[in-house]
Amino acid sequence: MQNFNQAIRRRLALLLLTTAGLAPNSYAAVETFTDENSGLLSWKAQHPGFSLQFIQLLPDYVRAVYGARGLPQEVVELMAGYCVFGTIIANESDGPLAYQVADWRYIVANGQPQPVKTKTQWLQEWQDMGVAFRWSLLPDDQQFAPGDWSQGFTTLPLAPGTTFKLHYQWTQQDQTHDGTFEALQCAPDKSADE
């Protein structure tokens, strides 16, 4: 019974978070999830035929991922100094779909819209640092056929815990659509269980 009550409480909390996260765009719902073990948050925007997911990643986790690829410590620390999200983008429609990260903008409180750093920009920096690795980051732009999806890291030059708004765009059947995450939050410096 206790487990049942806990499950109900978790579902109510999720419902509240979901409601609080509803985007102004009437046909997009943003769900917020909390990882029970780490306390880390993730957000999923569901549009007709298109979904976009942002998952908080801890700086130590980012260090582990890049460290394991054998990248120089300088690069590992550079990446861990960014606000990094695991990003999943999926074409759930019956037609083609495309996106370009260059079209996306983030806005911190009282700030101006800023472009999201692209994979191409990172690769140029990495190349200048002698690194040939070109994976892990969300591709700049993709043309998805039905059923295609992709994932990768999205990086923002923001401090741990910073809350911001993210405007994103995509094209479906030659029509450009847009959506907003009203309140994404960078991962904290350490997880709740540390």
Binding site: I55, W135, A145, G147, D148
Partner: protein, 201 residues
Amino acid sequence: MTELLKHCNAHRTSQPMSSSFITVLLSLVLYILPAIALAELPSPELSYQLNRLETPVQAPDFSLDDMDGEQHSLRDYRGKVIMLNFWATWCPPCRREIPSMESIYQDMGDKGFVVLGVNQFETPDHVFAYMGQLSVFPTFPILFDPDSSISERYAVKGLPTTLLINRQGEVVYRAAGGRDFDHPEVRAIVEELLAEGSGSS
């Protein structure tokens, strides 16, 4: 790979916390745990849609080493239907789709179908350690594209990406993102491709 095996064997016969043991432990911490942690991130269900190219394109040839240092060229497999899968250990959907690739390979491997897993930017030692963590150990060839030059030639933007190459050496299907290759619809596509050129091969 053989280096890692040596490390494992050394551990069995040497004192606890020997340098070999520490090497294996470090491999686990540095390589495997981040991959497993990534695998636990929420991600979509694997779909099964493969997308037929409007115009088939000739698959660029390549020669890559497998885990034992043996070279495989694409042209060695001419006349077969090839599933060319670009992947890496840190990529969660890559991990999730491996059992389905192994399953279809096991069932159709003797009919002229082959799976080639082209790993990106990793070493055989690293991949071998990772394979030990999988529920299904792949028996199809795992090839190494250490500088990602082959994936670039195939215009691969994200991992995993999978291509189906027909018996004539043309890329005819493409899928970006993880798939369930054991799905009946995927099997039907492979069977169709096997049947297409079976008379001439």
